[in-house]
Symmetry: C2
Subunit: 151 residues, 2 copies
Amino acid sequence: MANELPGMNLKAIGIVRNEVNQVTTGGYDWQDVVSEVVIDRSLTEALDNLDEFSHIIVLYWMHRTSRQPPHKMHPKCRHELPLVGLFATRSPNRPNPVGKATVRLLQRQGNVLKVQGLDAIDGTPVIDIKPYIPGYDSVTDARAPKWITKR
Amino acid sequence: MANELPGMNLKAIGIVRNEVNQVTTGGYDWQDVVSEVVIDRSLTEALDNLDEFSHIIVLYWMHRTSRQPPHKMHPKCRHELPLVGLFATRSPNRPNPVGKATVRLLQRQGNVLKVQGLDAIDGTPVIDIKPYIPGYDSVTDARAPKWITKR
């Protein structure tokens, strides 16, 4: 398979600003964290109408991770949880460290989006912003194993 | 803002196979389209346990799009819909053409995932596979404007 396709390079369109500088293994409670997503000023107009949505999807580059992790792992590094395939987890360590978060959009002011629940540390490069569309992005009858949600 | 960060290059981890070769402006009804997502054989083991989930998230590279689209547009090229900011739409033409689809996982067989509803044409490079986690990926009280869902 052609792994190295030409042109698959990303440009940061913005950056995450919050008070979280580091995350220890095992996770962090992001639910109430408020972040600013500061978008490049040249793209300000492209954010128009985004605040008609209550929630948005943020794609970001998890810049402090390993791109060559083991293919099997214990979720959240917890050894009491089963050993599973990397792609069955949301581990930030993956071949392409692109994170995807669905967050509440609290406010848009010019090129700055204030959001709640974004699980990305301060300084994280932002790749894309998309509106969250109920029905397209959500599933009513989805099934997931218990180990993925275990705290 | 530092737009060109080092190392933000993607590797295809797989490719989409289906019978859709081209999409005309205005969209396509993808709901019933069945695709095969063929993952690089070296990553087969990393797919273990994925089939414990009914739905997965596919990130893919929309390779036949423009990366320098206008910042304001009519959704789906329909002029009766309002002129809105690019990031308030799901247009495939965006600075970083990374698509995100939530799809039903019908079957996993070795390095091949059979999925339903993936809105990507044949030959689309795949960047990442994530499990869909109800509650984390879904929002119960989300609000969206009418123009985004209008057919």
